[in-house]
Symmetry: C2
Subunit: 386 residues, 2 copies
Amino acid sequence: MNDFDFYVPTAIRFGKGKIACLPSELARYGRNVLLVYGGGSIKRTGLYDRVMELLSDFKVTELSGIEPNPKLSSVEQGAKLCKTEHTDVILAVGGGSTIDASKHIAAAACYDGDPWDLVLDRSKVSKALPIITVLTICATGSEMNSGAVISNEKTLEKLEINTPLLYPRLSICDPTYLYTLPPKQTAAGAVDILSHVMEQYFQPNDEAYITDELSEAVMRTVVKYAPIAMSEPENYEARSNLMWASTLALNHLLTVGKGGAWSVHPIEHVVSAYYDITHGVGLAILTPAWMEYVLRDDTTARFARFARKVWDVDESDDRTAAKEGINKVRAFNRSLGMPSSLTEAGIENADIEKMAAEAIRTSGLSERSYVKLSAVDVEKIFARVF
Amino acid sequence: MNDFDFYVPTAIRFGKGKIACLPSELARYGRNVLLVYGGGSIKRTGLYDRVMELLSDFKVTELSGIEPNPKLSSVEQGAKLCKTEHTDVILAVGGGSTIDASKHIAAAACYDGDPWDLVLDRSKVSKALPIITVLTICATGSEMNSGAVISNEKTLEKLEINTPLLYPRLSICDPTYLYTLPPKQTAAGAVDILSHVMEQYFQPNDEAYITDELSEAVMRTVVKYAPIAMSEPENYEARSNLMWASTLALNHLLTVGKGGAWSVHPIEHVVSAYYDITHGVGLAILTPAWMEYVLRDDTTARFARFARKVWDVDESDDRTAAKEGINKVRAFNRSLGMPSSLTEAGIENADIEKMAAEAIRTSGLSERSYVKLSAVDVEKIFARVF
């Protein structure tokens, strides 16, 4: 088991109606609130009205229109607002994109230079505004971690900013907010959750038995409840288990004692930076392709374990079990309505060579991932999904 | 899934040599340290010298001799020292008893009345000194939670004080410190960890699937590694997995979405308050007796699941599987060298009636436990272990 430090100081309020605590929690930090949200779905569902009602005693500045794969330009706009409006606390109402943008804004609001500096050099983040989140999509786990992925539309880079200063102080997780999610978002969220766990599960260290066991527990939860949430959107048991699975998948718990770089996310990040496809869709397509590419003698045991423990594969031969597990992943994604190739997702004439080089440049793929990959390897993985 | 709030702000530094961070971490709070430890095993192992070397720039006041089932008198003594020595921070070096005593001292040091008041009425805890721990026994999980169990030797009560103010700020978990544990303590620790998980696992709510899955993962970890740690005391993989299992078993993660009162601990607490036996020994004896007593039609499915998922019982009939699971618990405890009855543990002529009444009075057994128990039920459970 690798050494680790663990410190996750975000408070979670989980359950129906937990949003009622907002006024008292926001008031800890001040009266000037920057309300950050996305494309307006919270207006359709009534959540916006509920929030504004709770915030009647606060001065609220709004930053709406945060897009999936949130953009640097939104961050720049938000940071400017925080400075001119003397914001005390940021309230992010939405999913991972809104929360990620809010984290970067929180840091940029306390920084005088170009916000992108903070992504390129984390040591420049010395302060950040406090953040409270109200989660409306479960996928990224951003509500209980200190990372944020931001796309720079000028440079076509999609990179992460991550420092302990960016932990939300409080996240309100009400599973009933997921009832109105479009099926596509439920599906993409489930794929994203599973992928987060798999990224941490497929890593060089094999001695963190407890972490592997916990990871399998979370993956089984997603495999069990994602189809239920798709067919019964208002099934509280399914939504609540998925929502908490999503948080645990990326709140540091499942990486403890492991270590190593992620494999599929860095490849997908390049695709969604270039083509702005839904992150979960990109992951659904790339994950089985990556698995098949890295399945070989020295990875077979791990893939066989994965197949048996997560996908209930009952097959005594390891290699056969491993392959069957990968098939199960692909079938699961398809059952959620995911496309099976990037072509099917609408991407054509991609510059595979350039994207592969970019994935290598911006990640630990070639040095610290489960199976170390070169740019040529990544090109071959891309070739499988076009 | 029940509603829940989750907030666990303790930082963990896990791994060999992590103690080196002590000076900088203590210095955040001041220079006056109360060093709390137990019976002197840390002097035999060299850990005391290492700590004192690291603390050469601090003013250190010592409170040694904290006993298993820590006593109110130790707390009184510690609180008095904190007041006279103007302690800034408490450093607990030891296991659950030392940490629990330190927590109560931390609160009592900031309170003018009788320290026992704080146990009887948690609302009286309005402030506490910061606590840093160095863990030398893995069992209680006290290093990452806000509870402490204290025995009042005058009233023969063993009760818990629990408030968020008592979370240690930092806990240093170095698995190599467990290498020198006597086998009896390794065994009692393993039983205690398992029991903590079972207390949370056997509860009224069945919809927290993810929490049940995580609980099973932690239990399998203990079942796998406890025997290895017994036979190979310096097996790092075993010690590290057990150490983290112990922390996760009682850091709130495994109670999320469940709720309800514990079943076996309240019964055991009375026994160890009256007879001062090792907590883990009491649990090892009482747990299978409790299980057999509450196994009935409406609990069979859960016990069968427990048997299959934790103990690998391969038996299709639920009732048979359930019984086999309980047998496995008993066999596991015996394999760790635990006695199988309180008589065997040296307790004779116990006043069963009085102890049962006390267990009911001081717990949620009769109202909120998995199977609600009356005093008569508890007497019958006692009757099985004498």
